[in-house]
Structures are given as C-alpha cells and as structure tokens.
Symmetry: C2
Subunit: 181 residues, 2 copies
Amino acid sequence: MIPTRLLHLIDRLARDVNSVGHAHGLNPVQWDVLRYLAVANRFSLSPKALTAYFRATKGTVSQTLSTLERRGLITKTHSGTDRRAVVLALTQAGREMLERDPLASFGEVLVTLESSELAALQTSLAKTVRMRAQITGERAFGLCSDCRHHRRSNTALHCALLDVALSVRDSLLICHEQEAA
Amino acid sequence: MIPTRLLHLIDRLARDVNSVGHAHGLNPVQWDVLRYLAVANRFSLSPKALTAYFRATKGTVSQTLSTLERRGLITKTHSGTDRRAVVLALTQAGREMLERDPLASFGEVLVTLESSELAALQTSLAKTVRMRAQITGERAFGLCSDCRHHRRSNTALHCALLDVALSVRDSLLICHEQEAA
DNA sequence: CAAATTTTGTATCGGCTCGATACAATTGTG
DNA sequence: CACAATTGTATCGAGCCGATACAAAATTTG
C-alpha cells in the first residue's frame, strides 16, 4: 500500500526547495552546480559528471556552465591528461556566493529538531535516495570512502578503480564513480 | 550548526522528484495540479488556491490550467455563488492519468522501509514542511480536520471560518484556508 | 445608489531554460 | 591508419513562467 500522505509531503518539500532556489540572480540548477563543485572530489569535477548528476543533456549542462563562468563563479580549464575533458572549479566569488545558499534556510528549520530525530531523518532519506539511484540505474554520487573500490592500508588510501592514491580529503568528498560497498 | 549532509540529501531528493515528473506528456507542475485536485476539498478547487499552493503568479497558473483543460484532464466551471470564481475538477481521464502518477515510484521504494521508520519519516517531514510554511508566511494546506476553525459537535462537523456544514469527506481533504489548531 | 476599490481570472509578450540535432576535437581500437 | 567512441560546443526551437495590462464581478464607501 502506497503511503500517499508521505508522497504528498515529499512533493511539497521538493516544490519548496525548487521555489527557494531562485535567489541572488541564480536559478536552482546553477545553485546545484555550485553546491556540487563544493563537495565533489577531483575525479568528479567535469561537465560529464554533472550531466549524470542532473540527468540533463550535455548541451544543457554546457550552457549552464558557460553562464556561471561568465558570472565569474566557476573556472573551466582543460585537463592535462585528457585534452577533451574540462576541469571545473569554484572561484573565490563562487565560494562566497555559496555562503548565501538559499537552501541553508532549510537548515535553520532542521536544527530545531531533536538530534536523534535529525539522525533518523538523514538515515531514512539516504536510504531512499540510494534505492532510487539503484532502481533508475543511475550513479549514487556517494562518498568516495563508502565505495567498493576504496582501499585502505595502514599507510595510505587508494582507489582500486582509477588506481590512484587518495588523500583523506579526497575520500570524504562525493565521487561520480562511487558504487556502494 | 547546519546539517550539510542532510541538506544535500534533500536537494538530491527534490531533483529526483522534479526529474521523474516529466511523464506521459505532462510536466511536474501539471502533475502537481492533478494531485492537488485529487486531495483538495470543495473550498479549495480554485485557481486562486493553486496560485498560493505553487507560489506562482496568476498568469502562470491560468496557462497551466488551460493546457490541462485542452487535454481533457480537468474541467473549469464558473461558481454559482461568485461568478468571478472558477471551480476546478478532475475529469475521468484526469483520474485515470493519476493512476500513472510517476511519483508513485517513490512509494514503491518507501514501502520497503520498516513501518516505524516510515512513520517517523512522515512525522519529521510533516514538521519540516509545517515550519517552513510558517516561516515563509504561507498557507500550510493541511487537513481540514486539523484546522483551528474546525468544530465537531455530536451531530455534525462545521467550519467556523466559512460558516458551513462539513461532510466527513470534506474534513479529510486539504483546505487552502487551513490554519494549524 | 453611484463610484471607487478589491478580488479573481485571462491575454499577451518576452526572457530564459532545456532538449535535440549537428558538429568539432581528442582518444581508443582493430 | 581508418574507424569508432568519448567529451564537449553551437545552434535552433518548443514551452514554461513572470510581468504587465486588461476584463469582469464583488465589495466597500460616500
């Protein structure tokens, strides 16, 4: 039996998020790009990864990125190893813009919840998002450290998929290659 | 301290909802209208109520409704009491379309959760949505029976704001006038 | 009651987003 | 080296949505 009332709440929440996403001259997708770049590791800073993240076409992503670059919020540089690939990065202005992230207004509401309730909410939502990604066959964009390709010896961290060494910081960021362990 | 990780999940969930909302030739807003009309009581079936519900301008709502009417999914009739007002209703085709609601795919995921977890999730989300509505000064669109204008004698139900009798069915639907008790 | 104001909705215009298609450049493969 | 696959850009057009102006009915005010 489908939990109609809960679906209604999710729908309403999603609409609220979308509606609050028009702020400081940016639209919801543009905010999302800034947020993504703030939490993605160095293997995931490409238009390709964003295309998967947003389920948008390459053209759409390309346009959004051009707009953000024109506004000085991100930079686009060509990768050294693969000269087709573009490496994205937040500029200082981009990081400052993120400090005015309208989504933070949800945070102010959430912190009034009991910490145990907050933790439970986070766990349930994480489960939901993960299962959804699984069903739709899309990437989960989870933490590098939660990935089945993640290896940790007593000396270092390593990605078995890309065969590269990982910093602690790398492993605590989101990776587009991530697959649940 | 703002729960960043949780905000990220909410953002991702919202994007998922929005993305899944393009189905059967309808867009997310059009689905939302159909869903709303299915759960709104007879005092709330107007373009005006939808304008508040979606935080959209009157013009935008008017256009969306015209499109849905053209597709035969809703009807628009003039109110008898106030001839400016329009009364909306789902057609049979509209109700059938709702049976293919893409949001139901979330339900399939959610039912795999423990029922206690499901209940907790619903409670937390309801709180969040309610607090958000309060802060932004908007209507909550809660259940008629949860309203401070709701009166129940041993013989009948009554709305003290509109001064009309309520059926049991009325009181279990969403009302645009609703204010938390 | 007449005039002004408020409420409710429509019509029209234009900016902008986004998907589709075609294309360019680089890398990988047989 | 020819051919395919990958990654990203350029261009076009449909459609969404906000803004403005307008129409019709109801309400308030003098």
